[in-house]
Amino acid sequence: MKIPRFSRKMLCIPYAVFLIFFVILPMLVILFYAFTDKNMHVSFSNFIRFFSDPTKLSTIVYSLVIALITTVACLIIAYPVAYILARSKLKKKFVIVMLFVLPMWINFVLRVNALREIFNLIAISPAMEWLTSANYFKTIVGMVYDFLPFMILPLYTTMLKIDGSLYEASADLGGSAFTTFTRVTIPLSMPGILSGITMVFLPSMTNYVVSDMLGNAKVTIIGKFIYEYFGTDWHMGSMVALVLLAVVFLSTWLSGGFQSEENVRGANL
């Protein structure tokens, strides 16, 4: 009998097992549930029910809008920070980068809770009373606060790799500071922008812990929806999950996340 020799290929067996049981099988289960009814007969009723229910559709739109605002806010805040940090000659710049990253290492539920308490404290003042009911505002602030490091880091690492002499070359060729920014800095930091967007946009559509805690349970995003349905109706829950998958796929495709594979490499942490 031939004794099977250990080969390098066998190292991927643990992952293959993981892949089968935790990725492929669950996907099939979701697919199965999404397109069956309570009696386990194949049916499109979930699909039709989802797209004919205005509350469900508006939840998707709300989730998208919240995610979009969060992403844009993160980008606007993170870009200058990353740019300044990457180009500064500070010896201690690692410390400053750590200051932005450190919050990521503190438990996320704890941070959101703390933020809620801060909001409550501010809302005591009569001038700030509007905060109590500004559920969407608070949700977005919380998400920006949570996901900002995920935007800063890919931007920072991409900008760090831009050769400083390119800025000089642009100025040398007559480019003003604005030209240099739009025609050199932005295109060259695009991989970082894209990976930052993917790392902020997708979680902020599904992370319902933030919206639950800061939105007085009045803000429902798509992630919350899925969670709730899986308590009562697995079939509908699976359908919502599939719709989310489609939205994610679509937005990644739109932002060019698939074809620029090569450029994005290394921009992710």
């Binding site: 390119l166 000089e168 070359a169 040398d172």
Partner: protein, 500 residues
């Protein structure tokens, strides 16, 4: 007289606290090919960057066509740079890279309206104009048909050409080239040297070129500016600098040379290697001088006819000549000749008067500012040395409590007294044992002087230089400790009020 396109007036530049350019002044004529030549860290690139506008001078002025541009940002200067590592935009293709400058450009066009009034508008260049210019630039660097290529698919030489095209397409008044050929292999480099020179002729604009390669500088330039340590050592034509080096640094850096210590012994007569020679330079009788003799200026002859007689100790074939090393007494001479000799052969040598070049020595002694410590040692140049403090007051001595007692019996505490420290060129020795000497430094210069080496050791913190002669061969950049015998340290009080 030619027009000065660029003029530097007393330009000094500090990076943080480091002096990189020390009061440099010179001018560049319009249309000239000028080269800044020097070892790395000599300030040549910084000088170029100040002309481009990437660095601003700490003090002094840079004039362009007589106008002060010292503080003008780079995008407002009519100069373009070819960067050391090209700095091509990786996200743009060849065409877009070259067109970058043209797209930034605004030209003033004059029009006439219906009423016949003239008015001018600042406008972008049209697409067609840009395309015409880019095509022309690509043709100039022999890269026709490369428009759509991505930068990352080009070889080093092609990237080099794109970088040149990107700069000259803007028709700058001055083209700055920062070691542009450094990344190419030898053969490619030689080709590009000639091409650049031809391009300079064709374009007729001023080229300012930076390199550490003396051969490149000699090949290409109309004028060479030799720099070292942030100071201009010599400015001249390639032949002028080669034949009449201003000091031992230039003589040693450009071409090969035999450098000796000599003494002037009469009218146009100099003594070195134990013999007296006629020369062309006039110096005062008895003055110590540095003597430079190029290897090709030494003629070989039969022993009985030679002014110097020596034994051949090595012969190396160098392609077009032989490099022959001859031992004359304790001196070693290098000769370049098309004739060969055998090792061990006795030969005579003559040197024509115009082959002997005399220079005032830059260093005659080492002088430092120091202070006396409470242990009666002297502190200077990052270190502490044993010394004899009694020389400060004639006839004095040290008592058992380490106080100085003068001849008149006065008791003096010398702690923290500032003194001038003088050490002769032959009184310093070095060791690679860091603990052995009074201070530690790095060897920054080694010049062979026929029978000994002249070294310069620079301390890290205060950047004080020790200049001295040694028989031993060391390596540049070695970290060594400096030893000075106690009795060789000459001290004098700095200000006479201290004497009281």
């Amino acid at each position: 007289m030619a027009e000065h396109i660029i003029e530097l007036q007393n330009v000094t530049k500090y990076y943080d606290d480091n002096l990189v350019i020390d009061n440099v002044s010179f001018y560049v004529n319009k249309g000239e090919f000028i080269t800044f030549l020097g070892p790395s860290g000599c300030g040549k690139t910084t000088t170029l960057r100040m002309i481009a506008g990437f660095d601003l001078p700490t003090s002094g002025k840079i004039l362009l066509n007589g106008k002060d541009i010292s503080l003008l940002p780079p995008n407002k200067r009519p100069v373009n740079t070819v960067f050391q590592r090209y700095a091509l935009f990786p996200h743009l293709n060849v065409y877009e890279n070259i067109a970058f400058g043209l797209k930034c450009k605004r030209v003033v066009n004059t029009y006439e309206n219906d009423k016949g009034e003239k008015y001018s508008k600042k406008e972008k260049l049209s697409k067609a104009e840009i395309e015409k210019k880019v095509k022309k630039a690509l043709a100039l660097v022999d890269l026709e048909g490369f428009e759509k290529r991505s930068i990352s698919t080009l070889s080093g030489g092609q990237q080099q050409r794109v970088a040149i095209a990107r700069a000259i397409v803007n028709e700058p008044e001055i083209l700055l080239l920062d070691e542009p050929l450094g990344a190419l292999d030898l053969k490619m480099r030689k080709e590009m040297q000639l091409e650049l020179k031809a391009m300079h002729k064709r374009l007729g604009i001023t080229f300012i070129y930076v390199t550490h390669d003396q051969e490149e500088a000699l090949t290409m330039s109309d004028t060479i500016v030799v720099m070292a340590d942030g100071v201009v050592q010599q400015i001249g034509t390639p032949t002028g600098i080669y034949n009449e080096p201003a000091n031992t640094f230039v003589a040693d850096f450009i071409g090969e040379s035999n450098i000796f210590n000599g003494t002037v012994v009469g009218d146009k007569k100099v003594k070195f290697c134990g013999k007296t020679f006629a020369c062309l330079d006039e110096f005062e009788n008895g003055e110590p001088v540095d003597v430079v003799v190029r290897p090709e200026d030494i003629r070989m002859c039969p022993p009985e006819a030679g002014a110097l007689v020596g034994e051949v100790i090595s012969v190396v074939f160098k392609g077009i000549h032989y490099e022959i090393t001859v031992q004359v007494g304790k001196y070693e001479l290098v000769i370049n000749s098309t004739e060969s000799r055998n090792v061990g052969e006795k030969i005579g040598m003559t040197i024509a008067p115009d082959g002997i070049h005399l220079m005032k020595p830059k260093y005659t002694t080492n002088i430092f500012d120091g202070v006396i410590t409470k242990r009666n040692t002297v502190k200077f140049a990052d270190g502490e040395f044993d010394c004899d403090v009694t020389q400060l007051y004639p006839g004095s001595h040290i008592d058992e409590e380490d106080y100085l007692i003068t001849a008149s019996g006065e008791k003096i505490d010398l702690t923290d007294v500032p003194v001038k420290v003088e050490v002769g060129l032959n009184d310093i020795t070095i060791s690679d044992d860091a603990e052995a000497g009074g201070t530690v430094g790095r060897i920054i210069s080694i010049i062979y002087k026929g029978d000994h080496y002249r070294l310069i050791v620079r301390t890290e913190e205060e950047e004080e230089d020790f200049v001295f002669a040694t028989d031993d061969l060391w390596n540049e950049n070695d970290i060594v400790s400096v030893m000075i015998p106690k009795e060789k340290i000459k001290l004098t009080l700095k200000n006479s009020e201290e004497k009281k």
